[in-house]
Symmetry: C3
Subunit: 389 residues, 3 copies
């Protein structure tokens, strides 16, 4: 009753990332490049164990344990390189009511980034939207949003899935505990300079996630809307809480010869300030919005994939006009069998106004001889094999 | 011939731990609380591989590899969060003579803490005895015993088990190498202020374990006695060696409607001092003694569990009267099948005289506005699902 | 289609390593010793998953994931003790043309060290040749070669194997990417004291491996030659690159009653200096050369194993005469079944002229009361069980 499963995806991949001196263009550009043997450029490499048990009366229990494997060097993704199970680690109860799922899993808001991207958010072709939402905004902007640890997956979560028999409608809700310690009275004695109690009790909120996704899939159409809130920072002593509010809408339509798909995504890092003085001096709420349009085209035993995507950062202090990036990706997957495929992808991304996006590889150089460099293009390719079992 | 097995246990658990200002009781108390999605509150979550081979002539060889899985967040228990196999990792030879087992395994002295506790030493209901023996004694007491790394399991061990056909008698012996380097002559030239050789050769002893357990199980009765010595500290230059000497006695009796069980445990950290001067200035040997009384009561497809346990620290310098804690726990397990169960447990522990025990969750606060706080109660609950395969 | 496999090998092993004061021999010697429960003294302990898929037309795809297990303590080999898959982690395509294999695997140059050593490069009997080539040369010599991380295995590698149907001829080629970042223009602005550009572009080479092995196996004869280059160090600012160039030749001949085998190995760390001034002041290229002669003798269900091996370090500055070590090993393996064996091995190694080799265990002491000690003998034994599945 236990299924052992996995994917091993290996590719030779190369990246060339350019930056230019905009003040003295005659100085030319500086490039960083890297050629690697890597993993997961088509499908994410993994090893897993899963099983279900029929409890009778329509009820079933199940478990799912799945971890990433860096099959290019044999390491796992834990600190130090050990194997862990952080792709998915859940226990489920399911029945007529749907499914209750507990543990670590994808967030509702991360689904659309993968499902409606022809490149499934993997490899050099992964859309700029999916890459940007989980990332810090460009580091040079002081109010950029911090990294979102619950962008793709959340630990310590409780999820509920609607049952599958709803005529094409589907839905999914998740709440993830942040497991913070709470003190009462707060941290006693911490007052500000005026002798007033600076902090509120129970203010450790970072790590919490709440989100939901609903959609409709029937015949050639699939459309889904998701909304989620990730608490990405809070400052106990300043009384501030920053929540990344993210929504996205994706759709695909299968015309038979070609399947079209796209996604729009909008993220904003909203900071709540409990202390009146802080509210006066507040900074704008930085954000990111983007979209991807793509298509997949079956060709014999293979499939051609193409996408165009854009990402734009908004309300970053000192960034006028606003940093943005656009990317074009093209690829071909040749299926040798259901389990084994060879693939090739090329992608080229252009940064504008200080955006620092990449299709992969090392960071853009940021300075040369003491002069500032501005990131421009990022180009890359993947040439690989994916084997599943 | 290889069996893949595991347990995934997930629960929503909450803890509230209080501490009071005993000098100014009007100041009230301070609480720390935490609500989590956690694992192993009923049975320890794990993934394992095991197998046996019939060698003919009654002989068999076998292996067992089993590691903990934190299925709430997908991590393992190695430093950095990787998966390891430290629940059990052994190679065995067995036959008419019994079983010889080499590697990492439970110590003989840890069995009774689990077998004779209705809560199996897991979750908020785990008896105060099992929790306390492996722990440091309260940190504020200068002669408290150090953490015992070989309390529950020992690496690098050689175990011998009696064969099963002895009319109900069973027995088990273990020796664990500490794998220390030994020097001859010791570390040459290390003398004390008087020019005398301060240290003895071969004095690195920390990590060694030796212990045994014997019992009798027949019909409704099961009774077992265990004794073990864990070398928990030695100081090469002072010529001191500290051995935690632990014995415990457990028994259960199944009345049919209800099964009664209990354990008494006594631990003492004995420090041997090789140097005459150190013997004069020695401190008392700190210890801990405790007991648990419990019962399990089958109710239809479920089982009610209850226990009362106490732990008392002895001979701690500056602790008069002696720190102690008592705990009451009550739970219900509802079996959906042999492999899947839902469960609920509540527990409440009361500390006296400075003991700092908890049923789980964050530590008791120790100070507030510069005033010392004394731990009082710890309350918790587990509400979960266990799925085995 | 997935095979779960493994080896668990556990032994009680002991080591005694001596060092002498050569200036004042009457002061006697200093020994370090250790007794342990360890793993992999006969065959390397491991856990693995592998599978192949028939793609039709003579083509096949396959994967292999295999990691070391320290079954004496339940840890893995990642930093922090987690499990990883660094024994082998590959994806393959094979057919009439041979096999293309991508990921982490043994290097071609490491095969002969194992295949032509009666002790398979494991345990106290592992030949001095295999041990020395991958190691730093004795630390006291300033031009000794650095540790070779690609001696036994290489990550990020592309391998090609000849097909098996070549009348006994076999061959194998590997290239491993070092995945370094490359900058153009190099690191801009880095000039030496004369204002000249000190470094060359694209000079980060450490980690690269290229090697090949070819042989012939037919009837009682097996002979193989291997050559490889591991880039073990480069200094970006000095313009130096150090490549460990290694070749070895091994052969075995099965006389029926006894199988004879041997290997010769020669390693040299060659430093290329781009800057003319550095070429003038260069130091000699240190090296190591060694050989092993051995035999295996079937005796009923068991096998006797014996070997004599030598290693000599060459061109180390300040080492005249040259450091060398010789080792004798003798063992017996008793097969209880195809999968389970018991074994015993003893080995004794003698160091001369400052060599610091060991059969295992703690390092030789290097000083006593401020006087320098010179390593002499290292003696050890393994007494264990190996169980495979």
């Amino acid at each position: 009753s236990v299924t052992l499963f996995g994917v091993f995806d290996v590719s030779i991949s190369g990246y060339v990332n350019k930056a230019e001196d905009r003040q003295f263009p005659t100085q030319g550009s500086a490039t960083t490049r890297r050629t690697v043997l890597t993993n997961s450029a088509y499908h994410s490499s993994r090893l897993g164990f899963r099983g279900t048990e029929d409890l009778g009366g329509g009820l079933a229990a199940g478990f799912w344990l799945e971890g990433a494997v860096n099959n290019d060097d044999g390491s796992g993704r834990a600190i130090g390189g050990g194997m862990n199970w952080q792709r998915r680690s859940t226990v489920s109860l399911s029945g007529f009511f749907g499914e209750l799922r507990l543990g670590r899993d994808f967030t509702p808001t991360s689904y659309n980034d993968g499902v409606f991207d022809p490149f499934g958010n993997n490899g050099v072709g992964a859309s700029a939207v999916g890459q940007a939402n989980g990332k810090r905004s460009p580091g040079r902007f002081q109010n950029g949003f911090a990294e979102n640890r619950t962008h793709i997956r959340a630990s310590n979560s409780v999820s509920y899935f609607l049952p599958p028999n709803l005529g094409g409608a589907y839905g999914h809700f998740m709440y993830a505990f942040n497991e913070a310690e709470k003190y009462k009275p707060a941290i006693p004695g911490a007052t500000d300079g005026d002798g007033a109690l600076l902090i509120r009790p129970d203010s450790q909120r970072t790590g919490r996630y709440i989100g939901a996704r609903g959609g409709y899939a029937n015949g050639p159409l699939d459309v889904a809307l998701a909304y989620g809130e990730s608490t990405i920072a809070d400052d106990f002593f300043d009384g501030t809480t920053t929540v990344l509010k993210l929504w996205n809408l994706g759709a695909s339509y299968d015309l038979g010869t070609v399947k079209l798909m796209g996604e729009y995504s909008n993220a904003k890092a909203v900071t709540d300030r409990a202390h009146p003085l802080h509210r006066l001096a507040h900074m704008p709420n930085p954000g990111a919005k983007g979209w991807v349009l793509g298509a997949t085209l079956p060709v014999g035993p293979g499939i051609i994939r193409a996408s165009y995507s854009r990402i734009e950062y908004t309300r970053l202090l000192g960034a006028t006009p606003e940093p943005k990036a656009s990317q074009f990706a093209l690829g071909y997957v040749h299926n040798l069998s259901k389990r084994t495929a060879m693939y090739a992808t090329v992608a080229r991304l252009s940064n504008r106004n200080g955006a620092e996006e990449r299709v992969g590889g090392p960071e853009h150089l940021s300075s040369m001889n003491g002069r500032t460099l501005t990131p421009t293009t990022s180009t890359g390719y993947d040439l690989g094999i994916r084997h599943a079992f």
